[in-house]
């Protein structure tokens, strides 16, 4: 049979393809629907948080920070409850990472504050002596891309039925609604409202001034995102 295949390239290629393709089908498909279901308490990202998430991706934070807590005592002691599949239901893309040059950030919102992040992003070594993380001063001046974050919200709402402007069940039995603007202008207004709350806890005068002018620096969006990780 193999000798015959080696003289018939078409059938050879078909044979190879079938051999390599079916493993993927068996591994990926059976659990697909179940893994897409959110757990209670997981809500979609707001416009500002999503803009911050894009800042996180733009700077490859995921190259050094994981967002996946494994079910070991050492990990739950350090980072909090181990990760559940449904907690990632709105993560497109997933940001588990593959390397912990720095600590896990899955629940960083539980134990770090806006103030901590502000100081740390400006000068990591000053907050954590011995840190090898680079500083990110440009995030204090670069503007966050709210338009794209809004477009992303619209995309996931339209293509993947992510529940914006709809009640989402919370752990205490209540519901919450994550708002998404009806227009670009409205999206900006919503993001700015959130940004003001973050900037109020910050010290950097330039950032405060920018937000007062109606601009949103990347750092504000990033901190909003990091604070949402719980």
């Amino acid at each position: 049979m193999f000798h015959w295949l080696e003289k018939h390239p078409f059938f050879f290629a078909v044979g190879v393809f079938v051999t390599i393709a079916f493993a993927g089908l068996i591994e990926i498909l059976p659990n697909f629907a179940e893994a897409s279901r959110p757990v209670i308490g997981t809500k979609p990202y707001s416009t500002l948080e999503l803009a911050g998430r894009n800042v996180y991706i733009k700077n490859s934070c995921n190259a050094c920070h994981s967002q996946l807590i494994r079910p070991f005592k050492a990990e739950t002691d350090r980072y909090g409850h181990y990760s559940l599949s449904g907690e990632y239901a709105y993560d497109r893309p997933f940001l588990w990472g593959s390397k912990r040059t720095g600590p896990d950030l899955m629940r960083v919102g539980n134990y770090r504050t806006t103030d901590w992040h502000e100081n740390h992003m400006k000068d990591p070594e000053a907050v954590v002596p011995g840190s090898i993380m680079p500083a990110y001063p440009w995030m204090f001046t670069n503007k966050a891309d709210i338009d794209t974050a809004y477009a992303e919200q619209l995309t996931v709402a339209q293509f993947f039925s992510v529940p914006y402007n709809k009640p989402v069940p919370m752990k205490d039995g209540s519901t919450e609604i994550v708002k998404m603007g009806n227009s670009v202008a409205e999206a900006h207004a919503l993001a700015l409202e959130e940004a003001k709350a973050v900037a109020a806890d910050m010290k950097d005068q330039d950032v405060k001034d920018a937000v007062a002018r109606g601009e949103i620096p990347e750092i504000v969006a990033l901190i909003a995102y990091l604070n949402s990780l719980k």
Binding site: F12, E27, E87, K99, T101, W138, T155, N182, V184
Partner: protein, 498 residues
């Protein structure tokens, strides 16, 4: 007429040889730089605060991995295909104007694609998925380039004289099909400019941005099904294609066992795709997938070692060649590193070992003993073998080649030993508890302890880069100053004929 040897046309092979060397220099230089950034964080701003956004570790890391994978390695694969393909199929590219055109088109599109990829990664355009960071327009370009390569492969096969496909061709076909399937499915994404707001606005925001078709756990599953097998079909399968051709040609020895090559080929095809789950051990993907990933990773030792042993036994009775020829040294050590990293990988895929190894530098070390020791050595060896036949000039300096071999071998050894120690040290420190059950170390303790290993790793990488420059110089001098030589004068004892 029938007895006249074929004149092969290496125009396209030469073009890709050039990009192999250039992109190798780019990718490895960035790699060395970011390695030192981890050891000496001051380097993040060494080009000035203003440029730090583009030269800090986080922005450069995807650029490093993509430049060596999609630049150096893919170029090497293409260069060797446009050399090996003609020879084992006994047909010249010059015989088909169409295939020649397709080959050149593929090259120039590739150059444009690489340029776009480099610029977009520098600017921070990224989907964040490892080895699949490119945004959707570049993904489309990559698919087109890949299809053109497919046309070349099957076009050349279509007009072949040698009816039976040689082992190398099996592997090139598998590489083509595997990467096509994996890349397509992992990069399914929706450009955000397609959405319209309730107010009727469309094409909002950055047109390059997209969102993944899969979310969370599913996205992770698809990504590592891709990520692991991209390693298979870029760093393993086409490299085996190379060694199956170049080792017998260079040594004049016949392949040790046809049956073993058959077993390892089909075994590799069947087993590899299941192993992706080992990247997701203890994650939120179902347990049975993790276990499958773990088990199949261990089984993977069989086909991997099958190929490697087949290569080493090909040298049976001719081991003096390893001492005499630096080129044989590269290939034999390459197969040895292949055996070594295909044993190391399965060990790391065992759940209890993975609990310590995952997220640490041991994984980085594993990748690098594979890519530096196996992929890098084999591609350089292939180019060394091709150069005299392509440029019709003798290799400029054999002693330079030998010096390069030892420098790079030392570099690889420093790299993986330091990363082993770093990884296991950090993995053990993360999980250490004191007598009261509290964590023994804060996270930063587990970072500062790595400093010496990061420095040693940087030196190891630097040695490898120095060797790569020696390689580039040697090839350049071969092209320009090597003694003119006809192929018939070269040692060609191969039982495979031309």
């Amino acid at each position: 007429m029938e007895n006249r040897p074929l004149e092969y046309d290496y125009t396209v092979a030469k073009m890709f040889m050039l990009t192999t060397i250039l992109l190798g220099i780019v990718g490895m230089s960035i790699g060395v730089f970011i390695a030192f950034e981890l050891a000496f964080p001051g380097l993040n701003t060494v080009f000035g605060e203003g440029l730090a956004e583009y030269t800090n570790f986080s922005r450069l890391r995807p650029l490093h991995t993509d430049a060596v994978a999609y630049g150096f390695t893919i170029s090497g694969i293409f260069a060797t295909w446009f050399y090996v393909g003609q020879r084992v199929l006994k047909v010249s590219m010059a015989e088909s104007k169409f295939l020649m055109f397709v080959g050149k088109l593929q090259f120039w599109l590739y150059v444009v694609g690489v340029a776009a990829a480099v610029v977009s990664l520098f600017l921070g355009y990224s989907t964040s998925k490892e080895y699949a960071e490119f945004e959707w327009p570049i993904d489309i370009a990559i698919v087109v380039i890949w299809v053109l390569w497919g046309v070349s492969i099957f076009g050349l096969i279509g007009i072949r004289r040698e009816k039976s496909l040689y082992i190398s061709v099996w592997y090139y076909i598998a590489a083509f099909l595997g990467v096509a399937m994996l890349y397509l499915f992992n990069n399914m994404e929706v450009p955000t400019m397609l959405a319209t707001s309730p107010a009727g606005e469309s094409a909002i925001g950055d047109w390059l941005h997209s969102v993944s078709m899969y979310a969370g756990t599913n996205d992770a599953l698809v990504q590592w099904w891709f990520g692991h097998n991209a390693v298979a079909f870029l760093f393993t399968v086409p490299i085996i294609a190379m060694i199956y051709y170049f080792l017998p040609k260079e040594s004049g020895q016949a392949i040790y066992s046809y049956k073993l090559s058959l077993l390892s080929f089909w075994g590799l095809m069947f087993v590899y795709l299941w192993a992706g789950g080992h990247h997701l051990l203890y994650s939120t993907v179902p347990d049975w997938m993790q276990t499958m990933g773990s088990i199949f990773s261990v089984i993977l030792i069989l086909p991997s070692w099958g190929s490697a042993i087949n290569m080493l036994l090909t040298m049976k009775g001719e081991w003096q060649q390893v001492a005499a020829s630096p080129l044989i040294k590269f290939m034999v050590l390459g197969s040895t590193f292949y055996m070594f990293s295909t044993l190391e990988g399965p060990i790391q895929a065992i759940k209890s070992v993975n609990a310590i190894a995952h997220f640490t530098d041991w994984i980085v070390g594993h990748v690098h003993d594979g890519v530096l020791g196996w992929v890098g050595f084999m591609i350089m060896a292939a180019l060394y073998h091709m150069s005299p036949r392509v440029f019709k000039r003798e290799i400029y300096s054999k002693s330079l080649m030998a010096a390069q071999f030892w420098i790079q071998t030392l570099g690889v050894v420093l790299y993986f030993t330091s990363m082993w120690i770093a990884g296991i040290t950090q993995g053990m420190m993360w999980r250490a508890h004191d007598e009261f059950g509290n964590l023994a170390y804060s996270f930063i303790d587990t970072v500062t302890v790595l400093h010496p290993y990061y420095a040693i790793r940087g030196v190891g990488g630097l040695l490898y880069l120095v060797g790569f420059f020696m390689f580039a110089y040697n090839i350049y001098k071969t092209m320009t100053a090597g003694r003119a030589v006809e192929e018939s004068e070269l040692a060609n004892k191969s039982p495979m004929g031309a």
